[in-house]
């Protein structure tokens, strides 16, 4: 469980990035944090594994204050995948890259071996086991970075802009993968701009603006509310746009799921046809 209370954070340059943010994320929840560039999203989630400590306020992970714990100790339970995989890949082989964190946490060699097999298989990277991560494509490097964090099986996973630079197929795989983590009762927090991706996943959505939370609720509610989205300069997902334009037909407006949309439109067409 992540509990943030009235978190303020100022960078050494005196820029106040967070101005009193409070949130509670329960175990097993799936949360998307959205907002403009510079809204404080990344700054906020860096508090969840202690990379940043609040200037004012408190962040508790499973009841423990982050100020009373090291990043390494917190990271054991909170995995954080950075936006750019090139900021963390350094090993000669993919296998060693994945082993890095496991060695840091002091796992036994046999367990490390098993975890590497598991993570490689999970992200379909087994064929690249002995390849240098620098020779892989952008999407593959991103998967190696993800595998290197998942390998220690953290309870909570934070993904910073996971869909940037990914083609549709990879995004779909990522979505299925997050759903799979959900069935294992893992907590997943994503930071993203990708409104279509969020619409497909339909998680709890938290909107941020200028260091504050401006909206927090179900994806279906927030992503179909133009007034709220406008606060953060986010446009409606395409399906919601279609239903917003069709509002004078008396159709519901809070639709972001493509199957639901299809069902409603077919029913309407059939009714009119008669």
């Amino acid at each position: 469980m992540i509990e943030a209370e009235n978190v303020h954070y100022s960078y050494p340059s005196k820029v106040e990035a967070l101005k009193g943010v409070s949130i509670t994320i329960k175990d097993g929840e799936f949360v998307a944090i959205m907002g403009q560039n510079g809204a404080g999203k990344s700054t906020f989630v860096k508090h969840f594994n202690g990379l940043l400590k609040p200037t004012v306020g408190s962040v508790k992970i499973d009841g423990v204050e982050t100020t009373k714990s090291s990043v390494a100790a917190l990271a054991r339970n909170v995995g954080f995948v950075f936006q750019n995989p090139d900021h963390q890949l350094f090993s000669e082989t993919v296998e060693e890259e994945i082993a890095f964190a496991l060695k840091n946490f002091g796992l036994e060699p046999e367990i490390i071996e098993k975890r590497i097999d598991w993570a490689l298989n999970l992200l379909s990277l087994t064929q690249y086991r002995k390849t240098s991560p620098f020779l892989l494509s952008g999407g593959e490097r991103k998967r190696v970075a993800l595998a290197s964090v998942l390998a220690w099986d953290p309870k909570t996973l934070i993904l910073d802009e996971p869909t940037i630079g990914q083609d549709h197929e990879q995004k779909e795989k990522l979505r299925q993968f997050i759903m799979q983590l959900q069935t294992q009762k893992k907590t997943v927090v994503i930071v993203t701009h990708d409104v279509e991706f969020v619409a497909e996943c339909n998680p709890r959505v938290v909107l941020m603006k200028e260091g504050k939370i401006v909206a927090d609720g179900e994806g279906k509610e927030i992503l179909t509310d133009p007034a709220t989205l406008e606060l953060s300069s986010i446009v409606l997902p395409q399906i919601a746009q279609v239903f917003a334009k069709l509002s004078d037909l008396g159709l519901p407006k809070d639709i972001i799921d493509i199957y639901e949309a299809k069902a409603i439109l077919l029913k309407e067409a059939w009714r009119r046809g008669k």
Binding site: L51, V71, A75, D86, H87, Q88
Partner: protein
Amino acid sequence: MSVFDGLKFRKVISPIHNLDPRMKFIYVIAIFVAAIVFFQIIPLLFLFVMQIPFVLLARVQKQWLRSLRGAAFLAVVIFSVNIATTFFTKGYTLPPEDIERAVSMTLRFVVLVESFSVFFLTTSPDHLGLALENSRVPYEFAFAFTTAVRFVPVLAEEAQTIMDAQKARGLELEKGGLLKRIRNYIPVLIPLIVSAIRRSLELAEAMESRAWGATKKRSNLYALKLHRGDYGLLAIIVGILAVTVYIYFFVPIPTIVSLL
């Protein structure tokens, strides 16, 4: 990163920032020469104090103090090495003149750092590049220099992100003995170097696609011109050099020890 912060240019409007970079550079050289010529405390102290009005006029006192703080470690090293060498070569004694000499050596270093700091704090990389170009340095070199200067803060920021990413994977930079601590930085250095190389290749491609090096003779958007302030600075430079030469040849400088 505090040392870099002390050299990082920030846009401020002040009479010092508006001075011609070439003239400012000659001023730094003049201070440099004077600081090398004298090895007594009194003139060095004078050189040190003389630059404070420039710092105040340019309103960069905060960053300037930071650069001095960054230089403090080296200053301590210089002082200790001077003291240690006299101590061991003069048969385990420490005459007061030698302590004074160690102090003035340190002060000389501080004066050099001080003047370079003022120069870099008040001169934009663009002006610096222009000055180099006007001094007949080939454009390729001038460009490489200004680009390098400009990328220092970018790299510093990137290093911070990489450190965060590796800490999130359980890396503890402060753990272990000296050798282990140095090895702890490998996961930070490799991504940093790789991304710097990648960035430079991208920059090269972007520049070539904007016709970099297409003509031998380039024109500039801004041209450097000497203004009234620059001639004022020139007068100060000539003054410093004249006084330096005069004192050096004709005025015996007392040491602090002899005054006591």
